[in-house]
């Protein structure tokens, strides 16, 4: 038997089904039907999404966006143990509490490194294309067992805690996937071509320094719009990198590629479109300003972008 990503999708679907069910039957939840319904719809996407016609999934996505957009996914008041009780438990369990948490990265890394060698009777244990992600999923399951044993608590309680965190994250948990979908729709519709046309047709790049700046800043700006350096790289490298920097000025192409992608990452640090890096942590850390993480990153990103321009201009030719 090979463990594929589908198993993780089903597992996630089951957890969301339980969480959604808990919210629907919770009479103290301020929006139990809309919020619960939102998570139940999301559970469907994981459980049977690939068997539904794509148009139906499209309708589900639009329904989820409307529920979230009009304030239907608010959180209930979280049920926590009093702080004194948590402190007592922290003192009693000591550093053993860290071990289940560290099990997740540990198992992920071990399975990433060993994944290719775990072949039984010619059948690989872990789907090769997704070793790290599947290793991560297995790590989470192992860690949950370990955590129940360490704390003498139950899987049922862990579902209540998952519901508390899902409630706190709210729609921010879904936004990264929605943006991934938007990236695919953009490339279907030819948005990349249009942006490349605009950025190359109106700037005079006879000077080497101007060309370097256009390439690096263009990578960053385009990544800010798309939320992803991978989407920006083909556009800017095809539009400016290869024809101008390489074709006219004979840049070292390996360095151009490396610095171009890093300039894109500077853009990732500055955009709400990179939701999984910027918006989700703000929700996870319960920050009232949802752009707080971006604000903390902008100075670092601008300094690194400037350093990239200097590096490519001085070492690249």
């Amino acid at each position: 038997m090979t463990i594929t990503l589908n198993y993780l999708f089903w597992l996630t679907g089951i957890v969301l089904l339980i969480v959604g069910g808990m919210i629907v039957i919770d009479r103290e939840h301020p929006r139990r039907f809309t919020a619960g319904g939102f998570w139940l719809l999301y559970a469907l996407v994981f459980l049977v999404g690939d068997r539904l016609p794509p148009e139906v999934v499209g309708v589900i996505v639009i329904a989820m966006a409307l529920i979230a957009g009009f304030g239907g996914v608010t959180a209930a008041k979280p049920k926590l143990l009093p702080e004194a009780e948590r402190r007592a438990s922290a003192r009693r369990l000591g550093n053993r509490l860290f071990l289940p948490a560290l099990t997740i990265p540990f198992v992920t890394v071990v399975l990433t490194l060993a994944g290719g060698h775990l072949v039984f009777g010619g059948v690989p244990l872990i789907e090769k294309a997704n070793t790290t992600l599947i290793g991560f999923g297995i790590g989470c399951v192992v860690a949950l067992g370990f955590a129940c044993w360490t704390t003498r608590d139950s899987v049922g309680q862990s579902m209540k805690e998952a519901r508390r965190l899902v409630d706190a994250l709210s729609w921010a948990a879904v936004l990264p996937q929605l943006l991934g979908m938007l990236g695919l729709v953009f490339s279907d519709a030819g948005v990349g071509k249009a942006v490349a046309h605009l950025s190359t047709a109106y700037i005079d790049m006879d000077l080497r320094f101007v060309a370097v700046v256009v390439y690096c800043v263009g990578m960053a700006l385009f990544t800010v719009i798309m939320g992803n350096g991978f989407a920006a790289f083909p556009v800017m490298t095809g539009g400016v990198g290869v024809p101008v920097l390489y074709g006219v000025f004979h840049v070292n192409p390996a360095m151009m590629a490396a610095i171009g992608m890093f300039s894109g990452y500077c853009g990732t640090l500055m955009t709400p479109m990179a939701a999984n890096f910027n918006m989700v942590p703000a929700a996870l850390l319960e920050l009232p300003d949802r752009n707080a993480v971006i604000r903390a990153q902008v100075p670092t990103a601008l300094c690194i972008l400037a350093a990239n321009i200097v590096l490519l201009y001085t070492l690249g030719f």
């Binding site: 996630t12 957890v15 996407v45 539904l52 016609p53 148009e55 499209g58 996505v61 979230a68 957009g69 009009f70 926590l80 702080e83 003192r91 550093n95 509490l97 289940p100 948490a101 890394v109 990433t112 992600l133 290793g135 860690a143 949950l144 608590d153 209540k160 805690e161 729609w171 948990a173 936004l175 996937q177 991934g180 979908m181 695919l184 279907d188 519709a189 030819g190 046309h197 047709a201 719009i225 991978f230 490298t237 095809g238 290869v242 390489y246 390996a254 360095m255 590629a257 490396a258 610095i259 992608m261 990732t268 999984n276 703000a282 996870l284 009232p288 707080a292 993480v293 670092t300 690194i304």
Partner: protein, 252 residues
């Protein structure tokens, strides 16, 4: 001239920018941008819904990394994981928020650069461990923290995870981005060795570490300036004075 390029799909980009500037709900903005882009590209309504549905199914792997650790992290938090992280850092007298985050930045960047990107992350490391440790280290030095400082420390903890990950992973030669770059360059007729792309990433990776570590050191100095004089445990008289003002305020 290249006037044949269709510029209408850019309307989706305009919707995104306008939506974020006008502070609409991001879920609505993104869904609206997808629909607007589809209309501008001349898709039929059914084609638009199908494009959205197909895209959403193809990207189901993205949220796994957020959703899967929630049960175990939540359970550990119930039993005091975050409190334990604060106590633990309290035992290290030299710890400050800035120094702690500089060490985390270094570890995160180095492990990512050898492909071990699973060693960090916001749900499983930053929320339960790194952010409480940054808060705990600062609390040990200056006493109870105002919320604004608490939020700033958390934002910096998240930012440090991102910077370490981004500028470390791209110098790992087997990383997907490097494969993507060399493939694209080859299609454009430029032959490049993946190992050279990885090596030429190192100067930027070093700059990124130096720049962000400097900012973290400055964060420490700023905390000292803002909290040092009003350090609650060292300066009980200030606290009394505050309490007195509140009382008079209530009477008035």
């Amino acid at each position: 001239m290249q006037t044949a390029v269709n510029l209408w799909p850019l309307i989706g980009v305009a919707v995104i920018i306008a939506g974020f500037v006008l502070r609409f709900n991001p879920m609505l903005i993104v869904a609206a941008a997808a629909v607007a882009t589809g209309i501008a590209a001349g898709f039929s309504p059914q084609h638009i819904l199908a494009a959205i549905g197909t895209g959403f199914i193809k990207t189901r792997n993205i949220p796994l990394i957020i959703l899967l650790p929630l049960a175990v992290i939540g359970l550990l938090e119930r039993h005091g994981l975050r409190e334990r992280a604060q106590m633990w850092i309290g035992n290290i007298k030299a710890a400050t928020a800035g120094r702690l985050l500089i060490v985390y930045l270094l570890v995160r960047e180095l492990t990512a650069s050898v492909g071990l990107t699973g060693l960090g992350g916001h749900p499983q490391m930053v929320r339960p461990l790194i952010a409480p440790m940054a808060e705990g280290a600062t609390e040990n030095r200056f006493g109870k923290l105002p919320d604004a400082i608490r939020f700033r420390l958390r934002a910096f903890a998240a930012a440090t995870d991102n910077v370490g990950l981004f500028f470390g992973e791209d110098i790992f030669v087997a990383f997907g981005a490097i494969v993507l770059m060399t493939t694209l360059l080859k299609e454009a007729g430029v032959a490049v060795e993946p190992i050279h792309v990885a090596l030429w990433g190192i100067p930027t990776a070093i700059c990124a570490f130096v720049i962000h570590a400097t900012r973290l050191a400055l964060l420490d100095r700023r905390l000292e300036r803002e909290l040092g004089s009003a350090g609650a445990p060292r300066n009980p008289r200030d606290a009394d004075a505050n309490a007195a003002t509140t009382q008079t305020g209530d009477e008035a």
